[in-house]
């Protein structure tokens, strides 16, 4: 069985890379077959689409932080609970409580599940500009 610390190190590396806008490290955390499931649509998002989305975030959002991270490793993966804070260009800071479950193969994230409450989207996305 893989050592827990290796799995936790992967988890830390993944979220640190997003915070530090280090796309190459982020990309290396995903296995070739990686898919990401999100609770708002219950669909598996392909690796390329997910990376493109994260890359767009790195380019357009001022800052992303994952705070109050609590990680546990289990056989074949990890679960992290955190609160994500995104500072948008407008200065608005959005936040959301998230539970992220990563299934690991060969030291990379092979399948991930992200649970959050889309019902609290107003706390997460910036208010829409009103049309003039």
């Amino acid at each position: 069985m893989r050592k827990d610390w290796q799995t936790i190190e992967l988890c830390d590396r993944f979220f640190d890379a997003i915070e530090q806008k280090d796309y190459d490290t982020l990309e290396s955390c995903y296995a070739p077959e990686a898919v990401v499931w999100h609770s708002h649509d219950s669909l598996y998002q392909p690796r390329a689409d997910n990376l493109a989305m994260l890359k767009r975030g790195m380019e357009t959002q001022r800052k992303t932080r994952f705070k109050d991270r609590r990680v546990r490793a289990f056989e074949g993966g990890f679960v992290q609970q955190h609160t994500i804070y995104i500072t948008y260009e407008s200065g608005f800071v959005g936040q959301m409580d998230v539970c992220f479950i990563g299934y690991v193969r060969d030291g990379m994230i092979s399948r991930a599940y992200e649970y959050f409450d889309t019902g609290q989207i107003d706390k997460f996305l910036p208010p829409r500009e009103k049309a003039t």
Binding site: E75, G76, C99, D117
Partner: protein, 148 residues
Amino acid sequence: MTVDTTHRRLCHALFDALEQGDVDGVDACYAPDMTMWINVSGETITREANLEAVDKGRGLHRRRLYNDRNINSFDDGFVVQYTTHVVTHDGTEVPLSACLVAEVRDARITKLFEYLDTTQFRSRARSKKARSKKTESERTESRQPEPT
């Protein structure tokens, strides 16, 4: 018995008790100082409040199921991804994908963290009746955060 087995058993015991509305069974899974946090409200409730909600919740629906239990255990707890099916009194069936993280000590749950996506409830309701009018039970449920 390994820790993995202990924690899996505990998870099943909790979900089975909740399905059956067995408040004593749920109580037996909890440590005396147990608390529960729900993402929907961001609040932490006490053991007593949780058991009260379980007791009251029995009448809210016709049936609540905890299916597709995908459990992963670690030394001090477990995480379970599951589909909870709520069957309301008018027959409406609503499946929700949810996730629960539990901290465990001495084979009892000390902390629960529940993650629900409340928009799933609204978008996934499959009603046998016309959707134009909300039933009383739907109005009640959309107001209250669901305990596990």
